[in-house]
Symmetry: C2
């Protein structure tokens, strides 16, 4: 696989409707080269911590392959999953020079690592490229808001349905089987993301299966049996 490929394919939903509609590849060949000059490709095994909350923020990462989780451990012992990150997502959110979340590989991952200073310098120089990043962060903001809607729901079954839709929208491009949803994260991670306990996720999953909407195949994957009804349930709020 071409090393440059994934950096090249940073895509996003622009502010302005693109002529074609939908997603677009937005980096030029030249920009790709510029990014690779300052970036380093890194491969990490599953479960590896990429950085910890509070540590000095030196890099921004772009996910090329795999799934990553971003979380915070709360005082009450719970773990709030701030986001799951997929190929083409950026990681490295910091505040006053320190990362705000801990980020960990869920699956084996390939990342591109950019020194923060070099990247900001490059972005300031190249307005078009920076715009790609701006759009990307805007997209992350939208997703964060959508997640809050998910967490605001009262019913566990609806939240899990919404979570499944969320994964489909992010890993759906897998191409193979449109009705198979990979679930590389643990139930505990799902619970943290959906604002539920692990037990509630388990019960809600069982309920979805009982209703014939979804079939869980092993713990790493689910099959959507009745997409329309699942969608209605997920958007019922």
């Amino acid at each position: 696989m071409n090393i440059a490929h994934h950096v090249a394919s940073l895509t996003s939903i622009p502010f302005l409707t693109p002529p074609t509609g939908g997603e677009t590849v937005v980096l030029t060949e030249h920009q790709r080269v510029e990014l690779l000059r300052i970036g380093l490709r890194v491969r990490l095994p599953a479960r590896m911590t990429i950085y910890r909350a509070g540590s000095r923020a030196q890099w921004v990462f772009a996910v090329a392959e795999g799934v990553v989780k971003s979380y915070r451990d709360l005082r009450n012992g719970k773990r709030d999953i701030a986001a799951f990150l997929f190929p083409r997502d950026l990681i490295g959110l910091s505040e006053k020079g320190h990362y705000v979340n801990t980020v960990q590989a869920v699956t084996p991952v390939t990342l591109y690592r950019f020194p923060l200073e070099d990247l900001t310098a490059l972005l300031k120089r190249d307005g078009e490229m920076q715009f790609v990043f701006l759009v990307k962060v805007t997209d992350a903001l939208r997703r964060s808001q959508r997640r809050t809607i998910l967490v605001n729901r009262r019913d566990a079954v609806g939240r899990v349905a919404m979570f499944l839709m969320f994964i489909m929208n992010n890993l759906g491009r897998g191409g193979t089987d449109a009705h198979r949803v990979p679930l590389p994260m643990t139930r505990s991670d799902i619970a943290g993301f959906a604002g539920l306990t692990l037990e509630s996720v388990s019960r809600a999953s069982a309920e979805l299966e009982r209703r014939g909407l979804v079939k869980f195949e092993g713990r790493q994957s689910a099959r959507i049996l009745d997409l329309p009804r699942l969608v209605r349930l997920a958007t019922a709020v």
Copy 2:
């Protein structure tokens, strides 16, 4: 008041720790002028809708004065408050050319309105200015994530405490009385933001008052009586 002042004072927490630490004014005189050339100052009364979810996204706004709420009406009749926006915040989040939330003035507001096309063109030309916007959106993302933590909490009292801290952090610069928290929004808005019902907000507020942490003075303002304990309660999660 100088018309240019508020646009000029778009501030943010940069990726890189600024030399002085804390917030910084980041636009130069030249950039201010450029922005004002494409921007229009708008004053709106309280309750005025600035734009509706789903409508064509033509503008980006910067809040100069006042408080604004961004929300979505959900199918189940509830209203999810995505964010409260304060002076220096940007509004205009869109997806595929359409606004995702409805935005409404909570108090009388002054806004600067920028045509989306002109603004994007300007940003692409001026990498330094775009960086200010990038940082600002990054900041919004952080706040959105923090809000999710708030909503994830189980206890209503803690959520209201967290909400009060949130307002203090955003309107605290009012200067006058550090222990007075203005609450221009309705209880219903607070409920929507905190993921509670209006009744629960009412009861939680009463509880905070009973515990001697806060005194509600009318419905538009609260007085913090025991900040340390309130902070501990708000960060207990």
